[in-house]
């Protein structure tokens, strides 16, 4: 017993000493931006080590009148580059609304679960990121505030923002969060592969057919894969919409996965896979298509702005180019991933919180964020502020009129999963396109019908 106690106390003492001596550190480098996971709860482009910019001399005034001596807590996810961006945002906000103190406490993992836990227990922060999962959890019961009144006070309207972005954060015509950034997909390719195979590089007028032809030529050589794509609803969405239909009807009541347009798009992808012009990342021994490009295993893929940082940090000497998303038979359209910031309805300082949200998503702040290369601005007129040309090209997809956000209501995750799994079964050879998407349609409809 005594021995146990001694050993145990030794361990405790040791850890306390170590805790005292631990250098407040060089944080480890961020992981390469992996392709987005299901929900639009996806990290936007990562910054190349963004420095917190010095606050501008107060360019504006506080968007709305705030409570005196307000102190608010602000929470979100993200790695150090994202945290740096928002620390800078807070600095700028302080210059504009000096009476408000903002305490920033980021939650790097399991954000949605933790936030639901905090909200249930009454300890949620005043301002926090809102994605589709949190919209579903909080908006119907008004745990987050409708911001329209505050927006009116600040002379901010819904039209200020890229229209597609507002769909997630709207309920019954009211705005429950404002989009803080967004990402989209573009055609990413390796010029040297095209040169080696002897075909012309893609242009921004390309269609999926052009992609297929080129991919076929590239893969015939045997050295490179043609076009990299996984069994992923997000990568499939541009195909579907450019063929004329999304996964769900506009009124969010009916799944449209068995419509001729979606089936045609799926058949196109299935045919590409069968003739081996389309390969999955795993097929070329990469963990995601961005890595496949970086390791020069494939000629093309569709990826987002995070490629800028990935290529710069991990594959610095590989030359790559990006173009807007290719078009399909019916239109040219892309998919948007976005997240917003919302206000806790039980916040003790609703005005200050709303002011922060409006500022962070406003033109001044968004412009600063774009300059760091971290993300795109949520205002359509600021698209030309993007610095990196590849990034700029990718971003074009987001501004197209038929581009959508893959948000289908509370059960978005299940519907998107149904699509991914259908593609998986097709690639495995388990089912043909019709059967696979018939099953996906049934599953999606069940998800839409459930509460």
């Amino acid at each position: 017993m005594k021995r146990t106690l001694t050993v145990v106390s030794l361990i405790l003492v040791l850890s306390m000493i170590l805790a005292a001596c631990a250098t407040p550190a060089a944080a480890p480098t961020a992981a390469p931006g992996v392709e987005p996971t299901k929900a639009p709860a996806v990290e936007p482009t990562k910054a190349p080590a963004a420095e917190p910019t010095k606050p501008e001399p107060a360019a504006g005034t506080c968007p709305i009148e705030v409570e005196p001596n307000a102190t608010i807590t602000f929470s979100g996810w993200g790695d150090e580059s994202e945290q740096a961006v928002y620390k800078a945002t807070i600095e700028r906000f302080k210059a504009v609304c000096p009476t408000v103190t903002v305490n920033y406490s980021p939650i790097p993992a399991d954000f949605q679960t933790k936030l639901k836990a905090q909200m249930a227990g009454g300890t949620a922060p005043d301002v926090f990121y809102v994605d589709d999962q949190l919209m579903t959890a909080f908006a119907p019961t008004e745990q987050i505030m409708a911001l329209d009144d505050f927006m009116a006070q600040a002379k901010v309207t819904r039209e200020d923002f890229i229209p597609a972005l507002m769909t997630i954060f709207t309920q019954n015509g009211k705005t429950y969060a404002l989009p803080k950034d967004w990402g989209t997909l573009g055609l990413v390719y390796l010029p040297e592969v095209f040169k080696e195979v002897g075909i012309a590089e893609p242009t921004d007028k390309w269609t999926w057919e052009d992609v297929r032809t080129a991919a076929k030529k590239i893969s015939e050589g045997g050295k490179y894969g043609g076009f990299c794509m996984g069994a992923d609803w997000a990568r499939f969405s541009p195909f579907a919409t450019s063929y004329g239909n999304a996964f769900v009807s506009k009124d969010l009541k009916t799944a449209t996965l068995d419509t001729p347009e979606v089936l045609a798009a799926a058949q196109f992808v299935a045919d590409m896979f069968k003739e081996k012009s389309l390969v999955r990342a795993a097929d070329v021994s990469a963990s995601w298509c961005g890595e496949a490009i970086g390791k020069k295993l494939v000629g093309m893929t569709t990826e987002g702005g995070w490629m800028v940082n990935t290529m710069k940090t991990t594959f610095a000497d590989v030359e790559w180019k990006a173009l807007p998303i290719p078009s399909g038979p019916k239109n040219q359209s892309d998919i948007i991933f976005t997240n917003g910031i919302g206000v806790n309805a039980s916040s003790k300082f609703p005005k200050a919180s709303a002011a922060f949200v409006i500022y962070a998503t406003g033109r001044d702040n968004q412009a600063e964020i774009v300059k760091t290369g971290f993300a795109y601005s949520t205002h359509p007129d600021q698209a030309d502020l993007i610095v990196d040309p590849n990034d700029k090209a990718i971003a074009q997809g987001g501004l197209l009129p038929d581009t959508i956000v893959a948000y289908w209501g509370p059960n978005t995750g299940k519907i998107n999963d149904a699509v991914s799994q259908a593609l998986d079964r097709i690639f495995l050879g388990d089912q043909d396109v019709a059967t696979a998407f018939k099953q996906a349609q049934a599953e999606a409809q069940t998800a839409l019908d459930s509460k």
Binding site: Q112, T113, K116, M119, A120, G121, G122, T123, A124, Q133, T136, A137, F138, P140, T141, Q143, A282, S285, N344, A345, S346, P410, N411, G413, K414, D417, Q421, D424, R425, L428, D430, Q431, T435, Q439, A442, E443, Q445, T446, A447, S450, K451
Partner: protein
């Protein structure tokens, strides 16, 4: 012989009443703490609002518990009444309950109260931020809708997965544990060291083991490399397998190797997927040592004279093993099988860390589904439904272990 006149039954009013009242109050307090109400900041940050909500939704719950509390209170009061007269008995009873008090309080609040809450909620729709609404048996029915509607088959598929898990893992881990224990049971040098080394995997947390195995199972990881070298010895080429991402079922692969095909509508014939079996292997790796230790201890209890007598009669080692060792181990085997079943039917950590239910839901387990539904990971929060699933699982576990205990006990009756 005269019968001893029985002592007159005294009624000790004060102690009985105090007992009854205190037990009733404590139990009711625990009930109020656990009362099923809406959550959210408005309720949590104000006692008045909380009590309003309790009045609105939790009265039936409190009523039922009040009845139970009254019954328990009465029983306790009667018992106190009985022992109060006898000083020694009184002292022992009071000391006994004083010593038991911490355990009882903790268990009543955090286990029993919670289970009662879960049971009550399982008959409601509850998403935390609105009031629970009564739906009767709808949640329980929903779990089994998969029989008629294949888009709702998540729970059934989860049950299917853990059943396979149980059927494969429990016998294998029991068998391996016995073999290893028998191997270690001979007196020899270094026995302690081997014993310690063998037990090491069981000591670390499932998170650590799962992460290491996820890495080993990578397409370019050591396990594929191992197979590569083995295949290479025979001059064959090994195609690397994405172990944790391969949804092909065991039976499906056998059937396909023989040229057949199992249609996707009959997914339940496909057997456990490669990914799922990979997780099974990892699990066996961590549980075998613990069970091995138990078998070792039991083996050491077997009288060596039995073996001597048997060997003098010319019994072979194989016969001694099956006729002496195994029967003597029956109680431990029973324990290991029951513990193993209870464990395998509740797999969660590995799924959460490694596969999150995939690929194609072949590693979905009931506890993972409960977690998803209760916290609204892939849709709205469905706490009522999650509770119903938990109780269904509890019943299944109970039935399984009951049958197993019976079966093994029957086997031991001969001895």
């Amino acid at each position: 012989m005269h019968a001893e006149p029985s002592k007159p039954k005294q009624f000790h009013a004060l102690p009985s009443i105090i007992t009854f009242v205190s037990i009733f109050v404590v139990l009711l307090l625990i009930a109020v703490l656990n009362a099923p109400t809406m959550g959210g900041p408005k309720v949590m940050n104000s006692i008045t609002v909380f009590f309003q909500e309790v009045k609105a939704t939790a009265l039936p719950f409190l009523a039922v518990i009040a009845v139970g509390a009254a019954v328990i209170g009465l029983v306790a009061a009667r018992m106190i009444n009985k022992v109060w007269g006898n000083t020694r008995l009184r002292r022992e009873t009071l000391t006994g309950f004083a010593f038991l008090a911490p355990y009882l309080l903790v268990t009543l609040t955090f286990t029993i109260g919670v289970v009662l809450f879960a049971f009550y909620i399982s008959f409601h729709n509850y998403d935390i931020f609105t009031r629970p609404t009564w739906v009767g048996l709808a949640n329980y029915a929903e779990a089994f809708k998969g029989f008629s509607d294949s888009t709702k088959r998540d729970f059934l598929q989860a049950l299917y997965n853990v059943l396979w898990y149980s059927i494969l893992v429990v016998p294998i881990q029991t068998f391996l544990a016995i073999q290893m224990a028998v191997l270690l049971n001979k007196p020899m040098k270094g026995k302690q060291i081997f014993r310690t080394i063998f037990y090491a995997p069981s000591v670390t947390s499932s998170v650590v083991i799962t992460l290491i195995f996820v890495w080993l199972y990578l397409k370019g990881g050591y396990i594929n490399a191992l197979f590569n070298s083995i295949w290479g010895l025979f001059g064959a080429k090994w195609t690397t397998v994405n172990w944790l991402g391969d949804p092909r079922g065991l039976i499906q692969m056998i059937v396909e190797a023989l040229g057949g095909k199992i249609p996707s509508t009959q997914w339940f014939f496909r057997g456990p997927s490669i990914a799922w079996m990979a997780i099974m292997v990892q699990n066996i790796f961590t549980t075998v040592p613990t069970f091995m230790i138990m078998f070792l201890a039991a083996l050491q209890d077997i009288n060596p004279a039995l073996y001597e007598a048997a060997s003098m009669e010319g019994a072979s080692p194989r016969e001694m093993h099956s006729k002496i060792t195994l029967p003597m181990l029956k109680p431990i085997i029973s324990l290991v099988v029951v513990l193993g079943t209870i464990g395998t039917l509740q797999v969660f950590d590995q799924v959460y860390l490694a596969t999150k239910g995939g690929p194609l839901k072949t590693s979905l387990t009931p506890v993972f589904l409960i977690y998803q539904e209760a916290l609204g990971i892939n849709g709205p929060i469905h706490m009522g439904y999650a509770s119903a699933l938990a109780f269904i699982l509890a019943v299944i576990i109970f039935i399984f272990t009951f049958i197993q205990r019976r079966g093994i006990e029957k086997g031991t009756e001969r001895y």
